[in-house]
């Protein structure tokens, strides 16, 4: 390859040179299917974000093309997604009235900021920051967002008014408004929800039973939402339901996406900085996890830092063409993959399809009931909600459960931004708390071997003159004092003690605070006539320790293995009674 660097940053140069008629055919078929699926979704997510429906189409054109140029995933489809749309509404909902030009301008500014942040993070290779969102926090956040979106759309389906900003408010208002339900709207909306669930689950098998080829049945099943939109629009026009108070989409401007510029307003940017950052990170995490799952299936690789650049370019593209924040969507990317898309060119073809829809199809959207779009959203987001995350984290890891609980509870009660921040804070806080109280085991020799094991778990040999401790954590400032306390307590208990051996096999790092603690431990033990030794110190740790004063002043030895320490230091041997000890330990605690 003549241009490795350029090709690395512009993956299009790699797949573009192998492009041929076969890949073209595959990409075209996939593009048709994804376009059919994207039209209703784009309209729906724009209205979820509080924007006019055509903005959803605009946000699905330029971003797809830009991702095709810069993205490293072959099949990721970029555009408006549910959670990011909800976060957009939350970020700007209190700063302008939904549907107003100011509101739209704020959405454009948010896309611009998010794009710029993603680009900068990509260039600075800060993709690892997304790792601080743990899987349980993401699951909890997406689940809570889905519930929040679903209850918010329920008001559209029932034709009532409610404008709370949290789940409890919204649910309570819906209950209070039960008398005001617009029954025609509710019938259409609930019917649409039922139809969409059915189409998703049973339409394809039905069509196959009716004798259609599986491939065609699949395409037709994907067209379910479009058929639903067409049918309800036709019925509305036929029976003039809008005259009976049912809300419809109304006039949608026809034409190319407008060229827009984000407002130059540093004060506003400061206000939107945190929401824009959160939208960027959530969008990136969602996009990368979808992309990686799909890439692995074909043994391809995703480059997270380049994905940041690609998503940044996509969002900047959205902001210059009247769009709002976008990212790689789960459902559409899976459909693209299943439909056989081979290269990002499929995304370009999809963009052309959506562009045609924006140019030609918008008049046909006039009679589409808003409740139909709400039904599309509800069915889409409920498939994202995963309540089993509570059960799974409870069974496996209580700290993860606490992080999920905090994320879900705060998202539902205080909103998406607070929920995400709470989740990250709780998961980091509990991780730090856990590492600040390391597991420190007293170990003894397994008879007949050279292995050492926890005296509380195994029947092992111990020597009253030697205390062998294994610290199961790197030593750093937050846990250095724990070790001091443990050794202080142990020496106070054992009058016969002459040697303390720290088995360092699980210590991957010792920071400056922990080094000072080791110095303090050594001095205190020396005062008490006890010698401190180390064993099984890892290479990189030993490299650094060997340059310190501590190692020069250490009166004890550094043994290669714990067994060598035992052989060198042992005098009288006893057998530990693990069960008795365990019971005594519990009685004391």
């Amino acid at each position: 390859m003549k241009t490795p660097n350029l090709a690395a940053w512009l993956p299009i140069l790699q797949w573009g040179r192998h492009y041929n008629r076969d890949t073209l055919a595959s990409d075209l078929v996939a593009a048709v299917i994804v376009t059919i699926m994207l039209i209703p979704q784009s309209l729906a997510y724009a209205s979820l974000a509080g924007l006019p429906p055509e903005v959803g189409l605009y946000a699905s054109i330029a971003p797809l093309v830009l991702y095709a140029i810069f993205g490293t995933s072959r099949v990721l489809a970029v555009g408006p997604v549910a959670v990011v749309s909800l976060m957009t509404a939350a970020a700007i909902g209190e700063r302008a009235a939904a549907g107003s030009p100011e509101y739209w301008a704020l959405a454009i500014a948010l896309a611009f900021m998010s794009g710029a942040m993603l680009l900068v993070m990509g260039v600075l290779r800060l993709g690892f920051l997304a790792n601080f969102l743990s899987h349980p926090v993401i699951s909890g956040f997406i689940t809570a967002s889905a519930l929040l979106i679903a209850v918010g759309q329920l008001k559209v389906i029932l034709g009532v008014k409610a404008d709370g900003h949290n789940f409890i408010d919204l649910a309570w208002q819906l209950i209070q408004q039960a008398g005001q339900i617009h029954w025609l709207t509710a019938a259409v909306g609930l019917g649409a929800v039922a139809f969409l669930f059915w189409a998703r689950k049973s339409l394809k098998p039905l069509l196959v039973r009716l004798g259609l080829p599986a491939r065609l049945a699949d395409v037709l099943a994907k067209a379910g939402p479009v058929a639903g939109i067409a049918l309800t629009a036709w019925l509305t026009w036929q029976f003039q339901w809008q005259a009976q108070g049912m809300k419809i989409v109304g006039t949608v401007p026809q034409g190319l996406p407008p060229l827009t510029l984000p407002t130059w307003n540093p004060a506003l940017w400061k206000e939107l900085a945190v929401p824009a950052l959160l939208i960027s990170v959530v969008g990136f995490v969602e996009s990368v996890s979808v992309g990686q799952t799909l890439a692995a299936k074909r043994r391809q690789r995703l480059e997270p830092d380049r994905e940041l650049v690609a998503l940044g370019a996509s969002n900047l593209g959205a902001s210059f063409t009247g769009g709002f924040p976008v990212t790689g969507g789960f459902a559409r990317s899976v459909v693209n993959f299943d439909a056989g898309a081979q290269t990002p060119a499929a995304g370009v073809f999809t963009a052309v399809g959506i562009l045609l829809a924006a140019l030609l199809l918008t008049p046909a959207l006039y009679f589409v009931p808003q409740a139909m779009l709400a039904a599309t959203i509800i069915v889409a987001v409920l498939s994202l909600a995963d309540l089993s995350i509570f059960k799974r984290t409870w069974a496996y890891s209580k700290p993860d459960f606490a992080a999920v609980l905090a994320t879900v509870a705060v998202t539902l009660t205080a909103g998406v931004e607070s929920g995400l921040i709470a989740g990250v804070a709780v998961s980091l806080g509990l991780y730090l708390f856990k590492t600040s109280r390391p597991h420190i085991a007293e170990v003894g020799l397994v008879p007949g071997t050279e292995h050492f094991r926890n005296v509380l778990r195994y029947k092992v040999l111990v020597d009253p003159c030697i205390l062998s401790l294994r610290v199961d954590e790197s030593l750093y400032f937050a846990n250095a004092r724990s070790l001091e306390d443990r050794i202080n307590a142990a020496t106070a208990d054992r009058p016969a003690l002459r040697h303390v051996v720290l088995q360092c096999s699980a210590i991957n790092d010792i920071d400056a605070s922990a080094l000072e603690s080791l110095e303090a431990i050594d001095k205190r033990l020396a005062d008490a006539g006890v010698t401190l030794h180390l064993s099984e110190v890892k290479g990189p740790v030993m490299d650094r320790l060997s340059k310190t004063e501590f190692m020069h002043e250490l009166r004890g030895q550094v043994f290669l293995t714990q067994y060598q320490a035992w052989v060198a230091l042992s005098s009288g041997i006893e057998t530990s009674e693990p069960v008795a000890r365990l019971l005594r330990q519990k009685a004391v605690a």
Copy 2:
């Protein structure tokens, strides 16, 4: 013991019952020495905090008595200290004019809040929170605070006006004011600094050479600052220096400490909450580290959670008797220890001494030059500054160096509160960053042994069909993806690969995110025809893993040792060429 719980919370019940004439004599001698030392210090630290000098005396009476009742250290002396006084001035300096009654009321409120916080932290056993202040951050913070205090006092010594809030401001103003120096004040102040440094270092040896007994020489040397105060006050009175523009202490009210109540003002409390918390934590950390160092010398133990209660009671005591935030001081505790204090009763006797000073001595303070007090402060704080922390952390640990640098730079430029927060944020951030990029070593068999070592460091045996990886960190959300990336990259490189063995000897925990990553790794490897195995999984980790779906679905095995995995899986063996590999690795990177 009949009342173990009560005695645990009231250590006075333990040492009180063994009190006899010998301990009384030791405590009395120590109390006299500490009282002599405390009088000038208390006056000086009160003026450092922006308060009238008598407030320093008030803050050294009730807190000492309360600490004697609740404290677990036998020798800790509680009262105003330099860093906490500076933090007090920083917290309330912008809310009221120094010296005004409002200012004093704010100081009392701060002592009350700090006391309440410490008490609550003690009861909830939150002492471990202080562990998140790393040693380098504390050293850096104290050093920067000392520099800030010293440059602030320099203006008093030179008799000029300057009121910047950061080091650069203050230093710059001092330079600008060079023409306004009040030479008489400067002569007295600089003379006092020189005398105090000399007295600290050379007075005792001189007195011994003059034939005094060592013990008496020691007491007289400790009285150096008092002698300096007496001398400068006498000279000022004699030559009426105050008439020539030298600032003196002036009228100091004579009498018992007043009974005061903190203002009931929730809005104010909210504003002071963060400074009060930082003062509490810094005071606690300073106090406990002094206490633990001294306790260890006599093989006594300090209970950090009970120290919180004792310091909380001391600060509440200060707030009810017209004082300001206090903590266990380094210099006075060491003096108390060296002077032979045996029990906290020495603190009570010191309190009586200070009380007598407040009742009888204050008229004698009228002519004390303010520059003399400033000299006392400068000499005290410069002994706290430790610039070697930069060199030591740079040599041992770059992240610790970065934390020190951030702490010092932000403290000097933006103030004590921001500096402390910056230090904690940087040290936690870098710790998390480090653990998010774990050291993952490919290991091979050391010929003739059962040990496995890094292929880049040792000449070891490797098998092209087996990839043996040792992860030197617990697996959690922030580093789970690193492992995925590493294994993805390794499988792409090795066509012959059939087995991946994760040696888990350094993995102390696997959280839910990492578990999902392991599931994803297993699935991806399976797709590529490679089997994932584990070895040397620790007991607690295995206990939890065994309940998961991952372990049921894992197609590979869990080996007790890496060697057993090698024996079971190996087919063809090669010898690694560590040097060549290392070079190649470097050339690629």
